[in-house]
């Protein structure tokens, strides 16, 4: 799916069109969060596609559609309280200075009322904004949980698409976020292992430090396996990732040979 550590244009387009599978979408989303170049390209593709949408032949609305919208709109609560500023009408000046006293008091009170109204509106605006953010966080959390559910579900179908009749080869795709110590690995076409063996993933740090074990995994009957958020230290920049075959309980150091490897793109 990637070239030089970046997603292909057509894959970003598929994501923009909501045509990716949840697992693919999770990979793209994670990559976009870390890759300004792909994010910029994604925004360009989205804009190009928006123009395609806007270029469709225009049709008039069904009769009464506008009125139906207006009628239903009137029944809905407002998203935020409208600001209502009451104009203060001034009266002609009177001869006696004493006459200004009540008007002055009224003007000051009106000014205070307006300021309070504005302050109230500001608070309501902030509240609405906070509510929106809370809803967004909840939606994001729910979305993340769905992604994890899909990636880790035993009954999930993993399908690898290859060009033509090329024989499937073992492949693995890792998404790694060093700043959070987060890693997701999806592997496919992995060969079966004896009961006393397991595959183990390694993070190879860019500073030359020893390889860090990133979890063990065994493929299912179809050769698919995944690792989701293994326990990893935070902030380790990776130079590469490797997979070895180890004893069933895993190993603190990799046992050669490294059967699969991938170099992390430099940012």
């Amino acid at each position: 799916m990637t070239t030089g550590g970046h997603f292909e244009q057509e894959d970003l387009a598929l994501y923009a069109m909501h045509g990716s599978t949840p697992a693919e979408a999770a990979l793209v989303r994670a990559h976009l969060a870390e890759c300004p170049a792909c994010q910029a390209e994604f925004e360009k593709i989205s804009s190009d596609l928006a123009m395609v949408a806007m270029s469709v032949e225009q049709h008039p609305l069904p009769e009464g559609a506008r009125q139906r919208f207006i009628d239903r709109l009137a029944d809905l609560p407002a998203p935020a309280a409208p600001v209502e500023v009451v104009p203060i009408r001034s009266e002609p000046p009177k001869r006696s200075a004493a006459i200004f006293i009540p008007w002055s008091i009224a003007a000051v009170m009106a000014l205070v009322a307006v300021l309070l109204g504005l302050a109230n509106n500001s608070v309501q605006h902030e509240l609405a904004k906070d509510n929106y953010l809370i809803a967004q966080f909840a939606a994001d959390s729910q979305h993340a949980q769905k992604v994890l559910d899909v990636l880790t579900a035993p009954e999930a179908q993993h399908v690898v698409l290859t060009a033509g009749k090329a024989a499937p080869v073992p492949t693995a795709r890792a998404v790694y976020l060093a700043s959070r110590g987060g890693l997701i690995l999806e592997a496919s076409n992995m060969g079966p292992l004896p009961a006393d063996k397991t595959y183990e993933l390694w993070v190879i740090p860019s500073n030359g430090a020893p390889s860090i074990p990133a979890g063990t995994f065994r493929p299912d009957a179809s050769g698919n396996a995944s690792l989701v958020l293994p326990d990893l230290p935070v902030g380790v920049q990776a130079k590469a990732f490797g997979v070895t075959i180890e004893r069933a309980e895993g190993s603190p150091t990799p046992t050669l040979p490294i059967i699969m490897a991938g170099v992390a793109p430099t940012s």
Binding site: Q9, E10, G19, D48, A65, R66, V159
Partner: protein, 184 residues
């Protein structure tokens, strides 16, 4: 709301209208509806080919703007383009009988063209129509299935009987052609 005439012409005061919607101004909401409802309905109708269902999407999109005006943030591109994308995504969800994805947060659009200018807007739309019609038939068909029917690459390959790589190449070529035309 009297005196608010329907219009499809985008305007630079969309941000001001949205600010008024945030403050609960129904007349501003009606103005946004008048400005973009025809475009939103047409996008939905293009996908769903059913006036009733397309109107459902139309109402749904604009109620979302009313209920969650903060979902459209400044800096996310022209409002008309944003509404077109949201309408298309909602219509695809309806077509595929999916739960509405509601992921408007990843709709971020960039435009070098001043879509608020009527002349530029019209000429840009016309140009995109010509480019799409001039695409080779196989590219047109792939884009049609991907964008207006919401099929994935593998679903298009299964539908057309073409290899997956060919489908991807056609979509990539169509996008490149469109990009070149838009940047020209």
């Amino acid at each position: 709301m009297a005196g608010v005439g329907p219009s499809t012409v985008p305007s630079a005061d969309d941000d001001l209208l949205l600010d008024r919607v945030r403050a609960g101004d129904q007349q501003a909401m009606a103005q946004i509806f008048d400005r973009y409802s025809r475009m939103v309905y047409s996008v939905a109708l293009r996908v769903l080919a059913d006036p009733g269902h397309a109107e459902d999407v139309l109402q749904d999109v604009f109620f979302k703007v009313w209920r969650e005006p903060h979902a459209f943030l400044k800096g996310r591109g022209p409002m008309g383009a944003w509404l077109a994308v949201v309408a298309r995504n909602r219509a695809i969800d309806a077509l595929r009988r999916r739960k509405p994805s509601d992921s408007v947060d990843d709709v971020v659009l960039v435009s070098k063209t001043n879509l608020a200018a009527e002349s530029q807007h019209k000429s840009m739309i016309e140009m995109v129509r010509k480019v799409m019609k001039a695409l080779p038939q196989d590219q047109q068909a792939s884009m049609e299935l991907a964008y207006f029917e919401g099929l994935s690459h593998s679903e298009i390959a299964a539908r057309t009987g073409d290899p997956l790589g060919t489908v991807k190449t056609r979509i990539r070529s169509a996008l490149i052609t469109l990009r070149k035309a838009l940047e020209a």
